[in-house]
Assembly symmetry: C2
């Protein structure tokens, strides 16, 4: 896999071998800076690195400017239809723009945006979308959707580069996982030097959206495709970021907090394992260390099966065993098991 | 991809090009048949096709027999350590056995199980597990975990086939996604004719477990690997089945209910989109049809972006538009939007 070019989104590097950056998009109105900044704070706390805001109308630009000035994270302006909104967002301090070549209008308008972004030194994401392809591409007969999306991106990138603008990120999302994967594989082959923003669009509510994003982005990331990612969920925005981190962690690409290994319970389980695992998981979220922690249902199989865990607990009949690397350290009554576990964790993460 | 052999688990075909079968494992005690049957009923209702029960001790065998006799789904007996439990489970009507070659004991004991399963005409899953590899393999120097797991499976398969027993399914789970994917790719290459049961073991609580399973099983299924699957979650067992179906649907392999396309909301959204999407999702679960249904936040982009939806709604300011294939059919007040949508769905699915 060739390395992409690196672009800089505020303080965050994207592409060129930088860690895959996690981003999200605010769900509150852009003309309510206090609500936006509170949401950014919540996103920041769970590991979001870049935030995007919609600029639906000119009257939200002042609010957008205030958010840019006070946000701890780089802020991307999401522009559709009206290139003047892009110019206004650049003036107000956007760290990056996202425009859609399918709906931004004439070449002249696009060129005005390119010029302003170049002068401000900020990158532009060319965000192609299955739902808003240019008409001449949408109607190409015999082309797959992926081919149309990639062609739309390729034409836009060629135009930007011809104008001397190379601070480009490209995305080409569809809500179908198979089509999205195929599209990004093609993009990566055709535009190997351009950093890619990956995501499954309109993925749905928490369960479906998590699964579609994990399957689609998981396949791409496992193939080395993707420089920044957004999980789209119809739900709380912080959940998008938590899921993005879980995807990265599952592939061993990046990890924010300890890994929890917990068995799915079975007829051998004699303790409240689900409650125990959830309690341990939420206490682990505050610890920033790549520890492996196990919560196992039975003391017979548990310590051995979780032999590679740095520390763990296994339930028995009214009691639990605390173990490390497969060896039982001590047995404690069931209601002391979580505290005993975190005592051991405290020894490992001072 | 070569086609695997087909084995029959009760009424459910596994392998040989049959649809990927969805299974789960009960979390209630096997000696409480009423609780088990209630859980099986709940699993059946969300699309589970095979259930597995732990047989930790001989005194649960009678309960197991009662569950087998009354279960609407084929029942698999999960055996560790004691081969006599396997013989007892076969006698009580198990539709399949799962044994672990790493802990079932001597060849003579394995042969007794093979003989009894052969006489009963039921398949056996050889369930290799990273946590319980045979000692001689665990200590192989210079071998990767995947190579050890595959060798354990290969040796067991060779032994079974030498005894004339070919009704085999193989699994080789690890809790690490990358290792599990690598292991199953190797298994599929080395034992191309053996049906594979895929899963990520001890995947964790709902969010982490869903993501790890979706990434790992998604990659494998997208490569044509896997004949039956289990999602392991530390949580409600029905969630395992729902997630399994979402994984299959995301890759277009199988679909149980309509697909929901819903946008992630943004600063342009003026309605309670999350509430709306969740309400639509839960009403869609009762409909068995491969419809595409969209719930979009804004009437400006929504119908166009969800042009491939059979039917959908897009929110406006206090009202919504019902659309089909990108064309607005009618506008209704916000509180009538769900009913209007299901009125249209009712026309499509009589």
């Amino acid at each position: 896999m060739e390395t992409t070019r690196r672009v800089q989104v505020g303080s965050v590097a994207v592409g060129g071998g930088a860690p895959v950056a996690v981003q999200s998009m605010l769900s509150c109105p852009t003309d309510d800076p206090e609500a936006c900044l509170a949401q950014i704070e919540a996103l920041h706390a769970v590991g979001c690195e870049i935030v995007r805001l919609a600029i639906p109308r000119a009257d939200v630009l002042d609010g957008f400017g205030e958010v840019c000035a006070r946000s701890p994270l780089p802020v991307v302006a999401d522009i559709h239809f009206d290139y003047r909104l892009a110019l206004g967002a650049i003036e107000r301090g956007a760290a990056k723009l996202r425009i859609n070549p399918g709906n931004i209008g004439s070449e002249k308008k696009v060129d005005a945006v390119i010029e302003a972004a170049g002068a401000a030194g900020i990158p532009i994401r060319i965000g192609v979308n299955a739902g808003s392809l240019e008409l001449h591409l949408r109607e190409k007969e015999g082309w797959t959707l992926s081919e149309k999306l990639v062609e739309s991106a390729r034409l836009a990138v060629a135009h930007f580069e011809q104008r001397g603008f190379r601070d480009i990120v490209v995305s080409a999302k569809a809500h179908d996982v198979v089509q999205t994967v195929e599209t990004y594989r093609l993009l990566s082959a055709e535009l190997p030097e351009v950093p890619l923003h990956i995501g499954i669009t309109e993925a749905g509510t928490i369960r479906q959206g998590t699964v579609k994003s994990a399957v689609g982005l998981g396949i791409l990331l496992s193939e080395g495709i993707g420089d920044t990612m957004r999980v789209s969920l119809t739900g709380d925005v912080t959940e998008e970021v938590r899921v993005a981190w879980e995807i990265l962690a599952s592939l061993g690409l990046r990890r924010r907090s300890p890994e929890l290994i917990s068995c799915p319970t079975c007829g051998r389980t004699q303790i409240d394992l689900v409650g125990l695992a959830n309690e341990v998981q939420s206490r682990l979220e505050t610890i920033q260390s790549p520890l492996k922690v196990a919560v196992m249902g039975c003391v017979v199989n548990g310590p051995g099966e979780a032999r590679d865990a740095d520390v763990g607990v296994a339930g028995g009949d009214g009691e639990g065993a605390v173990f490390a690397h497969g060896k039982v350290l001590r047995r404690v009554p069931e209601d002391e098991i979580v505290d005993a576990l975190f005592e051991e964790i405290g020894r490992l993460v001072p």
